[in-house]
Every structure is written in C-alpha cells, then in structure tokens.
Symmetry: C2
Subunit: 332 residues, 2 copies
Amino acid sequence: MAEVAARAGVAKQTVSNVVSGKKVRPETLAKVNTAIAELGYKPNLVARSLRTGSTSTVGLFVPRVANPFYSEVVEEVENVLVGHGYNLLLATTRDDPDYTRAHLENLAARSVDALLVAGDNGVEQQLPMLVDAAFPVALCAWEGDAPTTLPVVSIDYEHAGFLAGRYLRDLGHRNVAVIADLPAHSPRVRGLRRAFADDGLAIDDRQVFACTRDDAAGGFAAGSAALEADPELTAIFATHDVLAVGAIESVVRSGRRVPDDVSIVGFDDISQVGQIQPALTTVTFPKREMAQQAVELLLRAVDSGRPPTNVLTLLRPTLTIRDSSAAPRATG
Amino acid sequence: MAEVAARAGVAKQTVSNVVSGKKVRPETLAKVNTAIAELGYKPNLVARSLRTGSTSTVGLFVPRVANPFYSEVVEEVENVLVGHGYNLLLATTRDDPDYTRAHLENLAARSVDALLVAGDNGVEQQLPMLVDAAFPVALCAWEGDAPTTLPVVSIDYEHAGFLAGRYLRDLGHRNVAVIADLPAHSPRVRGLRRAFADDGLAIDDRQVFACTRDDAAGGFAAGSAALEADPELTAIFATHDVLAVGAIESVVRSGRRVPDDVSIVGFDDISQVGQIQPALTTVTFPKREMAQQAVELLLRAVDSGRPPTNVLTLLRPTLTIRDSSAAPRATG
DNA sequence: TTGAAAGCGCTAACAA
DNA sequence: TTGTTAGCGCTTTCAA
C-alpha cells in the first residue's frame, strides 16, 4: 500500500480511501487506480480486520454436514452470506458440548462478525457463553425450549407433529407407531399425540420406538421392531425423513406394501424423498426460508452495530402428501 | 496482552511465549498463567495472523453443498481439518467461473493457508490463477484432464465406468441406456462403452441420454425418454446416484419393475442409496479417503512451508452390488 | 531465558 | 479533499 501511495504520489490514507470506495477527487482516483493496476496491489484483509475488528466472516454451527437437512441449511446460509459479501466459517458440533465450546472460543478469537447455530443438540449447555459472545448470535432449527435471551428462527415443532397426526387420524388410522430420535424430537411426538388425543385416541408409550441410530439403519431397526410389536399396524410416523426411508424398507422387507398395508409419514422434506419409491408424505420444513431469515437478522445486527432484535420467529410447517400414505385398508 | 504482562511483571514477549507454548521457566509460566486466568485473557488470532501471515484456515470449494456427494466431502474435510487444528472456510462455486474467481481472490486476500478444490466444473478456467496462488492448492474429485501443475487426489473415472459396464455386460445385458450429466461425466460413459466394446458390443449415441437437470427430476426425465426410445431396455446406467434415483422412479412409473424388468446401476454410493427401495447397485467412490488424503497433502505442505508434492493420486473405485440389478429376463 | 524495540498492513482521528 | 500521526495485538529481531 505504501508502494502504491508512493507511485501515485499520494498518502497511504488516500489509497485506503480509494480501495474502500470513499470519496476521492476523480483525478486522484485515476492516479491511484493506475498505480494499483501497475503494481498488482491487493489489499490485505487480515490487516483491515485487525484494525476494524470485523472480518466479514460469519460462523455457522451444524451438528453434521452430511445430513441432508443441514446440508441444505448450509447451502442456503452460504448463498445469503455471499450475496451480502460475507464469508462462511463452517464448524460441525457433532452434538458434542466440548466441540461446540472449542469452536466457539476459536470463532471468538478470530473475531467473526456473527454466529448462527443450527440445531440444539449439545448446544444448550453453551447457551451462557453464546449470550456473552462479543458478536451477534442467533439460533435456528431449535426444537428444545428456546432461550429468551437469544433470537431464534425456527418452526413450531409441536404443531408440525400435530399436522402429521391429524392427517393420519383423519385418514382413519388407529394402529399407529412412532419411530423417533428421542429425546431430541419429543415435541414432534407430542404434537402427534395431541392430534390423536383430540379425538379421544391415545398413543401409548409402547407405540413409540426410540431409534438407537440416527440414520436409515436406525429407522429400519425401529420400523422392524414396531411391526413385530403390532402386526396390525397401519401407519408409521418417523420424526425425520432419513428414519422414514429406513422405515419404508422395514415395511417392504416384512412383505407388506407402502401405502397399501402401512402408511409412512416423515418429517423435514429433504430434497431426496420426493423422488424415491414411494414418494414420501412428509411435513415440509421451510429450511431455506429459515436460513435466510436467520442470516439476515444477524447481518442487520452486524451492519447496524447493535445487538440483533431478540425475536422468536416461527415459520409455518406444512404437510406434503405424496405416495407413501393412504387410508388404512378396510378391515374385512 | 500488555495487561497480562504488566500484571505478571514480565514483558509482552514472555506472555507470547507462554501462549504459543514455547520454552519458559516454570515459575514464570505459573505467574503468567495466573495473570491470564485472572484477566480472562484470550489471544487475538487476527493479530497473530497479520504478523505471521498464516491463519490456520483452509478454504474448500465445492460446486454445491446440498449435493449428497459433496456434503460428505465437506464433512470429511472439516473432520480432518479440526483434527489438525485448522478452520474451514467454505465457498460454493456453483460451477460458475465468475463465482470461483471472486472466491479465490477473497481467499487470497484473507491469506488462507491452503485451498482444496472439489470438482472440476467451472474451475478449469481458473487453473492458471490456482497455480499462481500464494498458498498450496490441491484438486480432488477431478474428472476432466488433470493439470500436471497441481496435485490431484481423485479416482479413475473411466475405470469406474468400466466396472459398471463390465458388470452389466457380464450379467448379459445388451439393451442398455446411459443417462448422464454431460459433458461433465463423459469419462464414466467412456469406461462403460469400453467394457461393452471389449466384447464387440457398441453403445450407440442414441442410447446415451444427457440430463438437462442435475437432480432426480432430470434422471426421471432422461429415464423416461430412454424407456420410450427403446421399450426393450433391460438396464440403465446413471452417471450419478441422484440421477439413478430418478431413473428408478421412471422405470416404476412406466409399469416395469426394478430389477426384474430393468436393472439400474448408479455412481458415487452416496449414503442414502443403500437404504432406498430397491437398494441401489452403484460404483462406490471412496470420498472420505479422498478428502482425507487431499487435506493431509495440503497440511503437510503448510507445515513444511514448501509447495505440496505434486502427485496424481487415484483411489480405486469398487462396485457395490445391491438390489437394483440382476440378469436380464430370459427372452422367451 | 527474558526484555525492549520495531513493524506486519491497514484505518480512525485529526490537522492542513 | 488530502496528508500526518498513531495504533489495532501480536511476533520477530536483537540485545541484555
């Protein structure tokens, strides 16, 4: 920069002004620009960051990237950030409080401008640190009790579960099983139960199968267990789509058909499940809208230099009916 | 830092030595550490980066994150980086040379320590810039002609296609269609063709269907077109799994069955396709090994301060046979 | 082993 | 509008 200034016959400050687009007399601007071009000068953003304390970088915490739900969130967050001229520093928490804390300290030391936390697993314990962070923090896809001290962009998980439950109930299903990632997804299960309870029907604890693994294999195992426990089963609600995919397999392997014998309803509407056989009926989670709103909330705070507006935004989930669900067969 | 030094009664330099784990007399160390604890001192990594020119941050370019192949790569890259104490700056190129260039300049200005580029689409044009970068660059999942100037960790795509082709040929399939993302995936198609050519069989251009969309819907459309063009079709090779999922749907929708009427073979072995119905036969791409090796290659270069060893590493793809493929029905 | 001084490249604040 | 000065927080250099 000093070289550029010397070559253009101006002060470093003037070069700085040119680079950051401040007001400069046109002829000075031209001189500086040619000097920049001739020397191939590129500003050093680390130095700028040290001086200004801001890095144009936003951190994002997700439990895992190779989970279709979160990979879509990551993609959308990056989209929005790039649109605003920000960078994405991605960290996976693995649902592990220790990882989360280590990453948090690292981000703080690197002075990121903001942090978005997606998913609540393993993060609850770090909430005090998040609140005290020197930069704006927002939470999204938060299913547990939302802290009142931080802005949250999420959906009403209980209502989302209710949508699935009401749908199955109205179709006439009575022998229903739930396969769930517990305790993480209990609000979804609660919503489903409420839908049946509204009609005087109870979903027993024995109808709820917790998955030991959070992947399709876990869904397969839980689905198989559910079918064995109640061979008369006519519907399965899986608390997320990946489990639902495993559940479909368990039904098919047992010699039953979907949806003729057993209906399956999932949760999330990850991009793949609309195309599998049978196309999955699921609760659609507006992931991209969520990511967008959360990032924009943060960037507004960054730009204004004030803490983010502390709101709880709940987007509306909807039910997307495809081919994996139908009314139960009339019991001859 | 000055405060800590003052409180401990030492020079700033000594504090620096303590923080970066250099040799310090035990009693001095203790004094400094208590001062650090009392003041809650946290080193400023931006300042360190300005001084040292290194940021403990590695850039990763992927075309898209919400593509199961790349999301697995991202996850593994992050894993390895965290294991080595590095951060991940993630950028999506969207297969767009302009985005790629902009991101590249940004990373350079932020002085990342290294850059890993996954996928070649839209990146070829930036190769000269990549070669000239001030930091180590490596390429992975590179399907086009690999540049000799940069290290590459990839697989032999042509051979991978050959594996799929040989398998289908040996099963006895003769009416085969290919649905492909072209021209990106032509090596895979070439390999398939070679397998058939070895047996004196030719795969005609009319049997190759280019997808207009790079998702399951594109696979569905291409699959439908293929079935219409040749109703006697007994096998479809899709150049990646997401297309294969769409192809399965097209077969089922046409009233045929997989694999009884039509076999489907995919490519990549993304984590979902082992669990769908029918479980997909596919060419397994050792993505995580690839990511690991590429990152470690880069970090070795960073640590040694020398350019990365310029090697071409080709991992071995394998064929994973599941339920979507079988011998063609004997034509009565 | 420790201390003092210098400077990484930039921008905020003020003066001209 | 432009130039000067100072300093962000750290590490490198050199001297004690």
